[in-house]
Symmetry: C2
Subunit: 313 residues, 2 copies
């Protein structure tokens, strides 16, 4: 994509459809940076609406998407992917001409399938994906620093207006993120390996461990520091969120999974036949990737992950 | 096992065969707790011997295992599993009657196979495994707090003298660990799922990612925060160490791997056929394990893992 035009980071009214971990973190970061004159949110559950108002992170909450987006300059969908179609259909009548619709979903091709068809003429679609998060969910779990120094990938279609793309890019930069533009299909492939497959594998190994009759759940928990623990954090992520990711990025995930399994079977064979050299070769090779991640500032090199064990009672 | 007799935690001379991450951490922790009158170490490489003396974590260093263990009351093997047989054979002539030989290896049945046959009459074997570590290696990587509040599993054979077992248990408790006794075969099965399989999976996924021609290594590194990052830390562990673990715990690892693959194929099928309910069921179930680990004090519940993103430059 060619260079984007200059654009200010501030918007008049920011509407967040869904105010969970990500939505509430955007609200907090937008507040912190004074990026929106008014922040409104939409949530189905009355208790979520009450909680958001109580937390003071929005100016108003709505149950109806169309009412929420009425007058909004920037609308960000922050609900699960499975809800996109319904939300897009319901909010469409409220969208004002010239407004921008964006989102934070982990799969991007499906935004063009599920959201684009409902948008009125003159409304700009600029899908986005902040590559950050925690295993927590809900508006209480958010924090303004969630996106600081992380990547936010925007995947506008070829027909997107550069000004609208620039606006969303400026907004995310002001929120603290580094913005990257990418084609939606490529995004889904890249994230398939860097995020979706790791989550699937983590869910699977924790499930396998839970099913072992020969090893008790107590033992799995007790000796988790040996490596298992890191998988459980990932496998504690929001179940519905991840179901929707796998259902909506099916092709890329199945492709990655096929390669992963193929490699794993080869590894299994090396263990069975005692091929120490082959094992060593793989294990030595993977160290370089880690060093690259630390060098890229996406991780701390601290031996203990920055965690110190709890002091003994 | 029945209750152990009382035993003091201190030893006259502590000999560490291998002074890498674990060995040097034991030396530091023993110093901190004033647990040994004298600490000696054995290392093959002259530069490791020089480094250990320079760090001031030992009183003397030796190249020859027999010289190192001469006069030692407690000998702890802290070399890779693949070196056990050779080290045991070479140190055996130096062992004094009544001394205790222990180790820190991640597989325990092989200690009885590779070390026990070489021990002279009157020398006690009490294999051990501190379930802690980092992905770093070498004497500089160690720190005294590595074992604090972590588990140390001892796997003495049925013929072990309770007094010797009690001595090693007291030593590890004084080092900061919680000590557990377990049958060696059970240990290898439990650690097979909580540690060995997670490492194998992590190595495999990082390898799969590195091989993807369609996604560049730069992209994998850039967007690693989405989940992949946590795998790379594990997959940056010492390659030779892990090769030896897999070659020496072959049966348990292959058994766990078989179950894991079986489960993964089922999961793959659910994604292919769009079985959202089955995915949701698994993902919801794995959350409970995570909560158990946090409740057991083996992990921090902090959303960001206790890490704060680096401040922007």
């Amino acid at each position: 994509m060619t260079a984007l035009p200059e654009a200010g980071a501030t918007v008049g009214t920011l509407a967040l459809i869904g105010v969970g971990l990500i939505g509430s973190s955007i609200a907090r970061a937008a507040r912190r940076g004074k990026l929106a004159g008014r922040i409104v949110g939409c949530a189905r559950k009355p208790e979520t609406r009450a909680k958001c108002l109580e937390l003071g992170i929005v100016d108003a909450m709505f149950a109806d998407p169309a009412e929420c987006v009425a007058g909004a300059d920037l609308v960000i969908l922050a609900v699960h992917l499975g809800g996109y179609r319904e939300v897009a259909r319901r909010m469409a009548p409220g969208l004002k001409p010239g407004s921008i619709v964006s989102d934070v979903g982990s799969v991007k091709t499906c935004v063009f399938r599920d959201v684009a068809p409902f948008l009125p003429e003159g409304v700009h679609l600029v899908p986005g994906h902040p590559v950050s998060g925690t295993e927590k969910s809900g508006p209480e779990a958010g924090f303004a620093e969630l996106f600081d120094n992380r990547w936010c990938i925007l995947t506008p279609g070829p027909e997107a207006e550069p000004k609208a793309v620039a606006k969303v890019a400026a907004f995310w930069r002001a929120i603290g993120s580094n913005v990257e533009l990418m084609e939606a299909r490529r995004h889904d492939l890249v994230l398939g390996i860097t995020s979706h497959l790791p989550h699937l594998i983590a869910y699977n190994i924790v499930g396998t461990a839970a099913d072992l009759e020969t090893v008790t759940k107590g033992e799995v928990i007790k000796y988790s520091a040996g490596g298992f623990r890191d998988f459980t954090r990932i496998a504690a992520s929001d179940p519905e969120f991840w179901r929707d990711v796998f259902l909506n990025n099916r092709e890329a995930v199945l492709e990655m999974l096929g390669r992963f399994t193929e490699d794993l079977i080869a590894l299994q064979r090396s263990i069975r036949w005692g091929e120490g050299d082959k094992l060593l070769q793989l294990f030595a090779r993977t160290r370089a990737i880690r060093q690259g991640i630390i060098a890229a500032g996406q991780e701390t090199p601290a031996a203990d992950f920055g965690r110190r064990p709890a002091t003994r009672g």
